[in-house]
């Protein structure tokens, strides 16, 4: 009976990890994390591969969905022999709230409030990719004022810093460096304080909108950013002392969760996972958007593809972001912060008091939204976790016909079975942490 017949008969297959006797060879290959396919001749050259034990020597356990180190509601089913992980299957969906369906009900104007809640650790990147996709459909992507573009860059780089600082905190906590958790949260809070000043909220800003940004930078923003840029580098040095050179830290991370460049590409992994294997792939440099070609920064790559490389890459990407933000401060132009296109821009507040047309315009744009021409487009940018993409199909109305977000965490957690195979349960925690999934984005 093929899978098609099973599904038609109304018996949905189970999602969980099943005993070996009940699964097919292909499913087993997937769950032990085999990625690349080789011919029988190639396989024969590798000699005798270790044979997995019989079922009575192994046990299947659940890790999560309420485990503190699974970063939310990720549930892993692990098959263990003693302390060694043989098979792994991530089970997700516990945080599924149908955000792509909600996105079809909200206008393009309102869509930002929805997408910003997906990857709640880098909300500004989500808004940015949604806005860029909408602007491309509208055909105004080259008309965004310079100040808005540089503000978007400033915010997305600061967001990358806050996201990576949180990674450093949780990674430290997972491995057992609990004081690191406090330090990481502390530094992230400073960045969020700046966001609060600019956008009014610590998270879920809905600040980057189709056509530009919601408001201009507040008075004194430059001093706040400079204060941040002065405060964080010495703290990064402290992290180096606390963790990078520390033998326990290195022993816990080096050689754990190894993946090769070929495997990472086959699995669709992007961001720090792909870069840890030595592939210098960063959309900011390789498929540039905003004004990234005009700023100088390095793409940080690793060489071993292990958890330590991914830690070191993120730590150094904070430094690169600081470098970029310094250049943004020097280059920040003056001017308008949103496009002056009556179609997508609401009238300024002062005009509403004196003009009936402005009032009607304001009312119409916030109740009905604006119509977006028919078409479909896929736009991708580099979020802290990898390639975040937005696929929008429009039927010419004010709401997206289909709004799909390519979430980097959703794709990246597929690497877990591969990275965990043959490792210890204790290392499983380090592996999950180094993939840095955000479950809000995995489940959407």
């Amino acid at each position: 009976m093929s899978i098609v017949d099973v599904i038609r008969s109304g018996n949905e297959p189970e999602q969980g990890l099943k005993p070996r006797s009940q699964i097919t060879a292909r499913e087993l290959l997937r769950e032990v994390g085999s990625v690349l396919r080789m011919s029988e001749a190639e396989a024969a050259k590798l000699g005798d591969l270790p044979v997995d034990p019989s079922e009575d020597q192994t046990m299947i356990i659940n890790m999560g969905p309420q485990h503190p180190s699974t970063h939310g509601v990720l549930r892993l089913m692990l098959e263990l022999q003693g302390e060694t992980v043989l098979r792994c299957k991530p089970i997700i969906g516990y945080l599924h709230t149908g955000m792509e369906k909600t996105g079809e009900q909200l206008t393009f104007m309102q869509g930002g409030t929805n997408v910003t809640r997906m990857d709640y650790l880098s909300p500004l990147n989500n808004e940015l990719v949604f806005s860029m996709a909408t602007e491309k459909l509208l055909g105004i992507e080259n008309d965004i004022p310079e100040r808005a573009v540089w503000m978007r860059m400033l915010l997305s780089e600061l967001n990358r810093m806050s996201s990576h600082l949180l990674f450093l905190a949780t990674n430290g906590m997972d491995i057992g460096a609990v004081s690191m958790m406090i330090y990481g949260w502390r530094e992230r809070e400073e960045v969020l304080r700046f966001f609060q000043k600019v956008t009014g909220l610590r998270m879920n800003h809905n600040f980057i909108r189709p056509g530009g940004v919601a408001a201009d930078l507040p008075a004194g923003w430059r001093d706040d950013v400079l204060h941040l840029l002065d405060a964080i580098p010495p703290r990064l040095e402290e992290y180096d002392v606390l963790m990078t050179g520390q033998p326990i830290w290195r022993d816990r991370l080096q050689g754990v969760g190894v993946i090769t460049a070929q495997e990472a590409q086959a699995l669709g992994a992007t961001g720090p996972i792909l870069r840890s294997t030595g592939v210098p792939w960063d959309l900011r440099r390789d498929m540039p958007y905003l004004r990234y070609p005009e700023v100088e920064f390095d793409v940080v790559v690793g060489s071993y593809g292990d958890a330590f490389d991914r830690y070191a890459i993120r730590l150094n990407e904070v430094r690169e972001s600081i470098r970029i933000v310094h250049q943004i401060l020097d280059r920040m132009p003056s001017g308008d912060y949103r496009i002056q296109n009556k179609k997508v821009t609401p009238p300024p507040r002062a005009r509403i008091d004196e003009s009936m047309e402005a009032l009607i315009h304001h009312f119409k744009i916030f109740t009905e939204g604006f119509k977006v021409p028919e078409g479909e487009v896929y736009v991708a940018i580099e979020s802290p976790r990898g390639e975040i993409g937005c696929y929008i199909a429009s039927d010419g109305s004010a709401t997206p016909y289909r709004m799909h977000v390519r979430a980097p965490s959703f794709v990246n957690i597929q690497c877990l079975p591969h990275m965990m195979r043959g490792g210890l349960v204790a290392d499983a925690v380090a592996v999950i942490s180094s993939v840095d999934p955000v479950l809000g984005e995995v489940d959407r």
Binding site: R30, V377, Y378, H404
Partner: protein, 171 residues
């Protein structure tokens, strides 16, 4: 008057499949039969990564623009491929009929499509044949219907709970 002036402009193709341009992005329109063959050809052509695989339900918007020779069906599977070597993207849009919502799995060529195909199955009910483990991924196993279909109303269904927990062995 030469023959060239009267001849129809030749529609662009790639690997024998209609090629269109959507706001500066290349889009291929293979049929379901050509799908895996085209994927294999693109994989050999350095498109080593499948960035995204999703589906669209065009139930309420049937009159979309498609190249000549491509018959619009209710569902469309959309695949975004990425070539790291050439820094290029290409998109595939495959028409999948409502009567027979099946398509071959890309798992053997791009193992990273495993979760994405499960998501497309879960949300749209499109069956990917030869997928190693085609189960629901975001919704519970006992969920009725496929939420992202256009005829699945949002917010107008009674809340479904998982009852019937299997009895624990031994109790």
């Amino acid at each position: 008057m030469s023959n060239d002036d009267t001849a129809q402009p030749v529609a662009p193709t790639m690997h024998g499949v209609p090629l269109t341009d959507s706001l500066g992005q290349r889009v291929l329109h293979p049929s379901r039969e050509q799908y895996v063959k085209v994927l294999r050809a693109l994989l050999d052509e350095t498109f080593t990564m499948c960035a995204d695989l999703t589906a669209v339900d065009y139930l309420t918007h049937p009159g979309r623009t498609l190249p000549e020779g491509v018959v619009a069906e209710r569902f469309e599977v959309v695949v975004n491929l990425l070539s790291i070597e050439r820094r290029e993207r290409i998109r595939l849009r495959v028409q999948v009929s409502e009567a027979d919502p099946t398509i071959a799995s890309a798992f053997d060529l791009y193992p990273g499509t495993e979760a994405m195909e499960r998501e497309a199955y879960d949300m749209f009910g499109i069956v990917f044949t030869n997928h190693p483990d085609l189960t629901r991924i975001l919704m519970p196993e006992d969920w009725d219907g496929h939420p992202l279909r256009k005829d699945f109303d949002a917010g107008r269904i009674p809340v479904q709970f998982s009852t019937d927990f299997p009895a624990r062995s031994g109790s």
